[in-house]
């Protein structure tokens, strides 16, 4: 039998893995972006004890390899009686890790945002959370779109690590096919193709959103 026929016959495994990867990526991207926004909101204002705690947490995420974090959540936490399924542990790891990165991306943009924006909003009597929601957040998000897209693709690539903590996604599917039929090159080529497809979708989505932003007048310099 032709090797491609073998892969075509194992399409169910790949499809299941593909859907799992998309699911993990979609949830972690949404929750991570949300977490990034929430952390950005919490970091507004003068430095306090809690804020330096959040900053320390973000820095910890930036210096910890993702695989070690996933290991810690899946293999380490059961010692404290916290046992999660592989999917939950993977999703939690992706969300926390990339949420911290998203917050860092937003914060870098927040630091270079003109002070006049906030001052004008205050002068018009906007309240604190309204300023954040309607002025700060749209500006920050729209101006960091390329960075967000980049981080989303890194997030997608990090889902591949989760095959090591026994999540059944594309890499795990390719691995099981290659170890059953011994066709490593073609199995992983299919996995690469599937990841590439998701990356293309992410890129075009970011392009769509940024053209929407251009229409709404976000990229005046």
């Amino acid at each position: 039998m032709n090797e491609w026929t073998i892969i075509w016959n194992a399409r169910d495994v790949f499809l299941k893995g593909f859907l799992k990867s998309i699911e993990l990526f979609a949830y972690s991207a949404m929750l991570g972006l949300l977490l990034g926004c929430v952390l950005l909101y919490l970091l507004e204002g003068r430095d306090s004890f809690a804020r330096s705690g959040i900053k320390a947490l973000i820095n910890a995420m930036r210096t910890l390899p993702f695989l070690i974090l996933a290991y810690l959540l899946y293999y380490g936490l059961p010692k404290f009686g916290l046992r999660m399924s592989a999917d939950t542990a993977g999703l939690l790891a992706l969300t926390v890790y990339h949420g911290a990165y998203f917050c860092e991306i937003f914060r870098s943009q927040r630091l270079v945002m003109p002070v006049g924006y906030i001052e004008a909003a205050l002068a018009h009597g906007f309240r604190h959370h309204v300023i954040f929601l309607r002025i700060l957040l749209p500006n920050v998000v729209m101006n960091t779109l390329p960075l967000i897209g980049n981080q989303l693709i890194i997030c997608l690539k990090d889902t591949a690590f989760l095959s090591i903590i026994t999540v059944r996604e594309v890499t795990a599917a390719a691995n099981s096919v290659q170890s059953t039929y011994f066709i490593p090159l073609k199995a992983f080529l299919v996995a690469i193709l599937l990841y590439w497809l998701i990356s293309l979708v992410i890129e075009s989505a970011i392009k769509k959103v940024s053209s929407l932003g251009k229409k709404r007048g976000f990229n005046h310099a």
Binding site: R62, T63, P65, L67, Y71, L72, Y75, F161
Partner: protein, 69 residues
């Protein structure tokens, strides 16, 4: 910045069988049946390595800015 990613991606090579810090961690965990502390230790070592590089980077940036101005 990218050299940090290089270190942070290095645990991936443990998967294909190279004996790096992550692989050693797994071996210790497999022998002692107690994965928490080896993983915490490895995480700490990675964090120290990368923090040193982050510090070096910020020093270099400061130096570069002083030279540029």
């Amino acid at each position: 910045m990218r050299c940090l990613f290089c270190i942070k991606g290095s645990p991936a090579i443990a998967v294909i069988g190279l004996v790096d810090l992550t692989r050693v961690t797994n071996r210790i965990a497999a022998v002692t049946y107690d994965p928490l502390f080896p993983i915490l230790g490895a995480g700490l070592i990675y964090m120290v390595m990368i923090s040193v590089l982050v510090k070096a980077q910020s020093l270099a940036e400061k130096k570069a800015r002083r030279l540029a101005v």
